[in-house]
Amino acid sequence: MNPFLHHLRSERITVNTTPQRRVALAAGSAIALTALLAGCTGGSGGDAAADGTLVFAVETDPTCIDPQQPTVTQALYIGRQVVDSLVDQDPETGDIVPWLAEDFSSNDDLTSFEFTLRDGVTFSDDSELTSDVVKANLDSIVEMSADGSTATLAAQYLAGYSGTEVTDEHSFTVNFDAPNAAFLQGASTMSLGIVSAETTEQSPDARCQDGVIGTGPFVYDAYSPNSEISMDRREGYAWGSELRGHEGDATLSRVEFAVVTEDSVRVGGLQSGEFDMIGELPYADEPRISEEGYSIYAKANPGIPTSLIPNLDNPVLADDAVREALRVGIDRDDINATLGYAEGDAPSSALSSGTTGYSSQADAMAYDRDAAIAALEDGGWELGDDGIREKDGERLTFTTTGFYEQNMIELIQLQLKDLGIDMQINFTDAGGFFGAIADRSYDMLFAALTRTGPDALGVAFEQAAPSHWAVLDDPDLESLLVEQASTSDPDARQALIDEAQTTIIEKGYLFPILEVYQLHASQSEVTGFEFDSASRFHLYDVALG
């Protein structure tokens, strides 16, 4: 800097406060303005209550808002609000009750199901619900799913579908080539929710992005991917099932689902009042949120709990001693206490406790570290220098492939290391996961399988099924699974399912780790939230305090 100028500059000090003051003034008014605006939006939670709009933050974008096509949980529970199903299922008792069909029955070998629709049901485009429309629904599901690209869950419920016979405008019969024990249960879900005839004629992609026309208590307004899904009340709704809490139109006038993937942001939004309800409350936050007075809604997912599923082509895992050690050597209670839902229980069978047909295998799965170590030593696996067991020069190591719940896999890794088992982690994405299943290139899978009923076991283990996950060769188990799917007598079916669970656990075909809970939270003023039998929910009775 030019020293000559320094002298000149020092004389100007007092004069030059003006620009600084200007800056300060500008900054001050900016802050004041912001605070004013913030005040307007800060109470958005309260404002929304007066309008009857529920703002519900969800964790994942549904990617497809047609309830018949996707399997993503968020897509299912969002889609549940706009369509009704032929029947409903009581989540407590498991009984099937009428809904759109006021009467239904099946023949003895579960290959033919008759339905009589109730009168006066209309879609939101004012078209009538008739047998032809239902037939169009079922036919289009089978058509869409033929190449495996979509509606795979719905197709599983319609396994063996041979056609729908229309008797008259309100009566029809659904026929199957082979006994389908899961059909009625499936018919109560949103995957077989009924859409309008016009919707069935649209392309699957259009239905996914533009929405569907249903008979449900809400009607789609807009879907902006990764951002928001909104729906308005259906005026004139009068055909809820007997399991609902009131009759007539839904209590809420509008529902807005906001996609908020960051957990901390979603939970924080509940606390700041930005959201009335949030989905997928992280287990770790539950005690704190519950203590602060928010309402918590929890239900165990039916189906197979989050588990380790071995590929028995892998020589290490084919070793019975290794699998026996895994059966009793994992401290599930510790994992549950550390990373799971605080009020929930550790899994105790191949099926989760919320599944119809569940029977406890707790004895076979009781944690016994000593027994695990004994099993390994008896099997010839001796501790090596690095703390990992060896047998005939081969290390006891395998890789687990998973694509979510990273922390949990790490915790299992720590526990197994203590036993001398080296479990490597291959953490990938959904594509990588299913790719590994498709070409059977995994050692051990880590995932859960959510299904409404015990047919989850078939999906995972039946080697004849197209999408099975487990790789094993057990003809007895295979015949058990095939038989239970076609047994109509509930008691006989239950006996087969019990035996299947016992076999799977005792032979170490599955190592359950944690029961998956649907965990949601809301402001304390929100009432009327109800889970359905598939652990998704109805917003029909919900009111904002």
């Binding site: 790490e410 915790l411 890794q413 982690i425």
Partner: protein, 270 residues
């Protein structure tokens, strides 16, 4: 030079960089524990005497994990700068040296492809490379390095062109010194200085890029404690356990600032 070095901020930066180096090369000295071991009963403890950075959701000591994660972050960043510097520098050198000798087309075409490397945001390029080569610190290094190579190429080329015009180079050529020798003995050493200064500064940026990619989930396999992965792990607990994000984040900031400051000091001196 010594006076510059003795300024307090520079000394502090030097200290931080030395500590970072020790963390990377001999983590056991600073954190004797096992970064992978955790006592689940001690989960989510706030920073205290026993655990200076607190513990995470599985009861693992965050300080130990941070120290052991230094190698992954710093090695990947250093590798990235090396990749970018060598690849980019080589391209720049060739283009600058050949321009005019064999016409300008080669230079034009190659520099346009270099423009692509600069036009595509570094993070996106790195993401694609990582997705292609599989997740892991070395693919991150390659991805980040490729992103930086473009700038290195430009700077090197500019410097080579500048030095080519200098008198001593003309003199050498007139004296009949072979072109390759001119390149190696005169052009390269003089052109390299600004490039080296740039490399030192790029190291700071590379550390940030590496942690960002880890944060986005394209990084190391769990349970590796790379710094970006640590911050990412902690973001679900930001309301209850701020130390999981803030402390590893602060370490990143300190190391990047220290590296950048040192690079500036050294760069100016040259």
């Amino acid at each position: 030079m010594i006076r510059r070095l003795l300024r307090p901020t520079t000394l502090l930066s030097l200290l931080i960089v030395l500590i970072a180096a020790v963390m990377a090369l001999a983590p056991g000295l600073l954190a004797p524990g096992d970064p992978l071991a955790g006592v689940t009963g001690d989960r989510l403890l706030a920073p205290g005497l026993a655990h200076p950075f607190g513990t995470d959701a599985l009861g693992r000591d965050v300080y130990t994990r941070t120290v052991h994660g230094a190698f992954l972050s710093l090695a990947a960043a250093t590798a990235a700068v090396l990749v970018g510097g060598i690849a980019g520098g080589a391209i720049g050198l060739v283009c600058g040296a050949l321009r005019g000798r064999v016409g300008t087309t080669v230079d034009f075409v190659v520099m346009r492809f270099v423009d692509v490397l600069i036009a595509v945001p570094g993070i996106l390029l790195a993401l694609i490379v990582v997705a292609t080569l599989g997740f892991g610190p070395w693919s991150i290094a390659l991805g980040v390095g490729l992103g930086a190579a473009g700038s290195f190429a430009r700077v090197m080329r500019a410097q080579v062109l500048r030095v080519r015009g200098e008198e001593y180079v003309e003199a050498a050529a007139t004296l009949g010194v072979r072109p390759l020798t001119v390149l190696g003995r005169h052009i390269l050493p003089n052109a390299m200085r600004p490039v080296l200064a740039m490399a030192a500064l790029e190291l700071g940026t590379a550390i940030l890029s590496v942690s960002t990619i880890s944060f986005l989930g394209f990084g190391v396999q769990p349970p590796s404690p790379e710094w970006g992965a640590l911050v990412s792990d902690g973001r679900d607990y930001i309301a209850t356990a701020w130390w999981l994000t803030v402390l590893p984040g602060a370490v990143i900031v300190c190391v990047v600032l220290a590296v950048t400051r040192l690079a500036r000091v050294i760069g100016v001196e040259r």
